[in-house]
Amino acid sequence: MINMKEKNNSKGRTSVFVKLILNGVVTVVFASILALSYNSFSGRGISLKGNWSGKTLSDSLIVPYSYQEGDPQAISISEAMMEFQAPHTIFLDARSDFDYKQGHIKGALNLPFEEFDGFYPEVASKLPKDKTIIAYCDGTECELSLFLTRILREEGYQDLKIFFGGWAEWVEADLPIGKGEEP
């Protein structure tokens, strides 16, 4: 008797579970159909697959999608090379210290965006506010340099630029690099 009851109960539980999943799937499918139809008929519809890898500014300068008006000036590799030779410029590597030690733009200081609070007190002493600071990270899709300059601006730095081509373009162009902890 008891066995029968248990059996019925477990059967019941299975059917509840199946019903639950089925109703959920029906809802999601129905919502998807509505969503896709609305998206194709409404004036504000967007393409199903967007281009989120970057946007092109003037003269084929590619910046991450999150780069906005009012953010520090983005510079190309040729401008970065000119800045590299200027005496008032400091390059700032926003990547992790591990990446930095593997290789970085010669003379660059390391201020990892993701460990800003830990690194900043020490780096700040080598980073006068009247210098031009060029932040960079991996390459076009990397936003660490952008986020870093946004914080630095709050810290009172004003002459900030971002070299979005970053480490990838620098290496590709065979420009001077440093390795290990030495800038």
Partner: protein, 151 residues
């Protein structure tokens, strides 16, 4: 004390109020996202969690699931699965918000508005989401009792 609390949260009128709150909030939250899919996609992008190829399709479909489940929870169709879906969403939102909080990204949550200036305090958002999860789960458990076989 505990018995009294249980009695209150299992009261049918309390459940009805819960359903109105959860459903209402999700319906309200979906409308702006449905109206401005491009802005919402940007917010999804800013969370930096989904691969780029999935951002748009997610931004198109998610608000409609919110809307439909919100309506279902209120009018009493598929209450158990809809409240389960909404609770799951809330858990995912909590995880996404926490991840970005830990990463130190200062982003617009995109909860109710796609306006980039509509920033809300992270801690308040998390508390609100936790309360809503509790409400969602209570609706879910209560509605399951109705479709479950007799004990």
């Amino acid at each position: 004390m505990w018995k009294g609390f249980k009695k209150i949260i299992n009261n049918r009128y309390t459940i009805l109020v819960f359903r109105l709150i959860l459903g209402g909030i999700f319906i309200y939250a979906s409308l702006d996202k449905i109206a401005y899919p491009e802005q919402f996609a940007k917010i999804v992008y800013n969370y930096k969690i989904l691969p780029h190829s999935l951002i748009n399709i997610f931004a198109i479909i998610l608000p409609w699931i919110e809307l439909l489940c919100g309506i279902f929870v209120i009018i009493g169709i598929f209450v158990e699965s809809s409240s389960a879906i909404l609770s799951m969403f809330l858990v995912v939102f909590i995880i996404a918000l926490s991840v970005n909080f830990l990463r130190g990204l200062d982003i617009n949550c995109g909860c109710f508005s796609t306006d980039p200036k509509g920033k809300e305090e992270g801690a308040i958002l998390l508390i609100r989401d936790f309360i809503l999860v509790a409400i969602g789960l209570q609706i879910f458990v209560n509605s399951l009792k109705k479709i479950a076989p007799d004990k």
